[in-house]
Amino acid sequence: MKFKLATAFLVIAFLFTACGEKTDVVDSGTYRGTVDKVEPSKTEIYVKTSDNKTLELYFTENTTLTRNGETVEFSNLEEGQQVEVDVEKSGKRLDPIAVRILN
């Protein structure tokens, strides 16, 4: 019984550990990917790149958001959209300089 109890506890502990979001830090540059999550209240998006990295991007007052070359509102961003992002790495923080909606 003690063994079963310990096993159950370890499984629960593993599930708790596995439930957190993991994000990655990349170098400054341009990346393409899919919008994985949009948080309008924080003007924040998560972008999953083709090499399976997740970029957590908080829009700043200097971030531009465009679609077909035209500036659009943050509310135009939706999960599943293809985007191209120019990011600048400051320390380990990624500042989005430009976000272009591709579809």
């Binding site: 957190g20 993991k22 994000t23 924080k42 500042d95």
Partner: protein, 162 residues
Amino acid sequence: MEQIPDFWRTEVLHPLFVHFPIALLLMATVFKIATLWVKGKFLDLPGTILLVIGTLGGWLAIYTGDLADGAVSRTICDPTVLKAHENNGYIMIWLFTAAVIIDIFYQFNFSKFKVYLAKGVLILLMITGSGYLAYVGHLGARLVYQQAAGVYIPTTNCAEFN
């Protein structure tokens, strides 16, 4: 000239709320461990009350932390520490929430065997939760003392305080 920011900023709510659940949940864990040696409800019931209030306070701390996240993420230099603080905070609060559920069932008298089982799982969850609580607190301290998360840094000549 630089202006001193308002004290009641969104990111200040989080430190106002986190310290009570830290104390309550750690004390709840100590009380519940002590019930292994001290029989009766003398420590058990206060432990439950501390656990329930501490967990509710913990969820409030999670909520205010989420509000603070939006404000400080654009200024700190290493958001990976913030992400670890957030993720481990969720693990911690779910461990204590699970402990609350087990403890409430435990207070309603299982059969003798299940009481023994419930108490073992309860204390194991609370000890693990306390470990996570300590680690989350450490990460929170790193955010404040290494990266000045949510902290106003005065100008070098302190002119705004004149």
